[in-house]
């Protein structure tokens, strides 16, 4: 698993300007290409558009025909949800839990990665291996045992009851990403800092962390997204609806108002917006960085 991540890391290094992407002129019929592309866009976009557009219908319109454009457009579904706490409360809960989990992962993870990358001590590789093995621990399989543990220590129905395990499960990938990054920072910098009278802690805080900012951003995004999307653990931990996270609230809304399809559609559409918005905003970096230096 250590190797898996290492290869992933190595793979994502872009070819750089030294290797301009020269492409063969491939004489395959382009209409086919466009047709397949169009089909693909349709398969992905149509279900999403269905949710968003049909949120503008009344229930009577939906049972009549769900495929044409709404006539007339009904704004009431969306406005009712946006003015109730049904949507904003879970949104705030999700944000709070994701923020706590992310802060813990980045804070504790960078400290551990520092110890595991820039100190040499007996058992270091053993500790690293221990964390790396955690990559193989499925959160879903652990959820029932976690629930029992949280019950014992009184963290059920508590945001920390979700944030702490999420942070724990986020640590392996964080350390696996951060350690090589921190190791790659030249030892001369550290020597210079020590010569200037800085302690190791000061070096960590004032030099290493700022230098690691790109890697820290990566692990922070990972931890946040992971927490934002988690469903099973909060499902077990939270029993009172005021504590629900957004995924829980969506699923709950679906069962609770099962007669009111239009409202469910609107609620589902709205709950997709934060993730979709962030993705569209960040996709230049995400996809662009991911697919290397070739322009889209």
């Amino acid at each position: 698993m250590i190797r898996v991540s290492a290869t992933l890391g190595a793979r994502s290094v872009p070819p750089g300007p030294a290797a301009p992407a020269r492409r063969l002129k491939i004489p395959v019929a382009t209409p086919v290409t466009y047709l397949v592309g169009l089909l693909l866009v349709g398969i992905i976009a149509v279900p999403l558009l269905f949710v968003i557009v049909d949120g503008f219908r009344s229930n009577a319109q939906i049972s009549g025909s769900a495929t044409a454009l709404p006539h007339p457009w009904v704004w009431q579904n969306y406005s009712a949800i946006l003015t109730s706490s049904n949507f904003w409360e879970p949104l705030a809960n999700s944000a709070l839990i994701a923020a706590i989990a992310t802060a813990l992962v980045v804070g504790l993870g960078s400290m551990a990665a520092f110890a595991l990358s820039r100190y040499s001590f007996r058992g270091r590789e053993g500790f690293y291996f221990l964390f790396a093995v955690g990559l193989l621990f499925p959160l879903n399989a652990a959820s029932l045992p976690l629930y029992l543990l949280l019950d014992k220590i009184g963290l059920l129905n508590n945001p920390f009851g979700v944030a702490l395990p999420e942070a724990g499960f986020g640590l392996p990938i964080t350390i696996v990403i951060l350690r090589p990054f921190m190791r790659a920072i030249p030892g001369e910098l550290e020597d210079a800092a020590v010569v200037d009278g800085a302690t190791r802690i000061r070096f960590f805080w004032r030099i290493l962390l700022p230098l690691s900012r790109p890697a820290l951003a990566t692990v922070a995004v990972l931890a946040f997204v992971q927490s934002w999307n988690t469903y099973l653990l909060p499902l077990l931990v939270f029993t009172s609806p005021q504590r629900f996270t957004l995924p829980l609230a969506v699923a709950n809304f679906n069962t609770q108002y099962s007669q009111n399809t239009a409202s469910i559609l609107a609620f589902t559409a709205l709950s997709m917006m934060p993730a979709l918005g962030c993705f569209i905003f960040a996709q230049r970096h995400l996809v662009g960085g991911f697919t290397g230096a070739v322009k889209g």
Binding site: G9, R11, R23, T30, F137, S143, L144, P165, R200, L276
Partner: protein, 328 residues
């Protein structure tokens, strides 16, 4: 969905190549006690969190599985490995495990060719490429719970899917997508494919762009056809990417929960149950904590064993040298 999957998705070019690792041993070492104190300060918080919330629960579960425990309060009767034996011979658990395997096989059989094909397609100069690329990846970043609710509405009898099919003249093929015992698992596979193929595509697109165009050009000069080049040059060079993607895909398939639980709850009559939904059903919904813990431990062992075997026999070839050669 594992962390590693998302990691691969968001890994940016900021991450340094492992080859650049330098030995930190050259750094000056502070003296004994202070150094130990620093180490404890830096390492122990993460270690505590990790041991407490990742390792400990599994160990406790292995222990709880030894008891016939059906609720809160003290553990029930000690029953030894009885629960584990029950789980392994439980026809529903076996069926659920089979479903996980079917999902894993189908995911690879569908997403690999689709992902590869579309990656090939998008690795060309076509208009609107970035839009297609972004859209293909979008389902992967949406919370599974929301897309699950979306699909459960789409697939309702008389719902959007049925209406579309009637309009394009396929009305006779309309089925009870979620209520038909023989169909529901395949419906779930379609839903999972919709959500995850973008991830396969993106990984392979990244892999493709690392393959130097000169290789294809050289093959073309030697008279190879487009198909031959793709089959003999491109595909082998994508090997490492494909093997890692397969690993992530299988581990994800073994843990599927959100979509199945929200859309069908594992039903009808367990026809779409997975190990995770069955774990929920037995361990949580009916408060059989001992039995549920045994399921959790067995599920964990299955994932772990698969990972070790795969690592040992499949990923072993993908040493860094091979990969960097492939990337060029």
């Amino acid at each position: 969905m594992t962390h590693a999957e998302t990691a691969a998705a968001t890994a940016t070019n900021d991450e340094p190549a492992v080859a650049a690792v330098q030995s930190p041993r050259s750094a000056r070492r502070p003296r004994g006690l202070r150094r130990t104190a620093e180490l404890v300060l830096f390492l122990s918080p993460a270690l505590l969190l990790f041991v407490g919330f990742v390792l400990l629960p599994i160990v406790l579960a292995a222990f709880d599985g030894l008891y016939n425990w059906t609720g809160f309060g003290p553990l029930g009767r000690f029953t030894g490995l009885h629960n584990y034996a029950l789980v392994l011979t439980d026809p529903v658990f076996r069926e659920a495990f089979t479903h996980n395997v079917i999902i894993a096989v189908a995911s690879i059989a569908l997403q690999l060719p689709i992902g590869f094909g579309i990656a090939l397609l998008l690795n060309r100069r076509i208009r609107g490429r970035s839009v297609v690329r972004m859209l293909a990846f979008a389902p992967f970043v949406l919370p599974y719970a929301t897309t699950a609710v979306m699909w459960s509405l789409l697939l309702q009898p008389g719902g959007f899917v049925d209406q579309i099919m009637k309009q394009i003249g396929l009305g006779r093929l309309v089925q009870l997508w979620l209520a038909n015992l023989h169909l529901v698992l395949y419906t779930m596979i379609v839903v999972l494919t919709w959500q995850f193929f973008g991830f396969a595509m993106l990984l392979m697109l990244a892999g493709l762009q690392g393959i130097p165009a000169e290789l294809r050009e050289a093959a073309a000069l030697d008279g190879a056809s487009g198909w031959q080049t793709t089959w003999h040059i491109t595909l082998p060079l994508l090997g490492p990417t494909i093997r890692i993607w397969m690993f992530l895909s299988i581990v994800g398939s073994l843990q599927v929960f959100d979509q199945v639980f929200i859309i069908t709850g594992g039903g009808p009559a367990n026809a779409s149950a997975t190990m995770a939904t069955y774990l929920y059903q037995r361990g949580f919904a009916s408060y059989e904590f001992g039995y549920g813990s045994a399921i959790a431990v067995i599920m964990f062992i299955i994932c772990f064993a698969f990972a070790l075997i795969y690592q040992r026999f499949v990923l072993r070839r993908d040493t860094r040298g091979a990969l960097t050669r492939a990337v060029g």
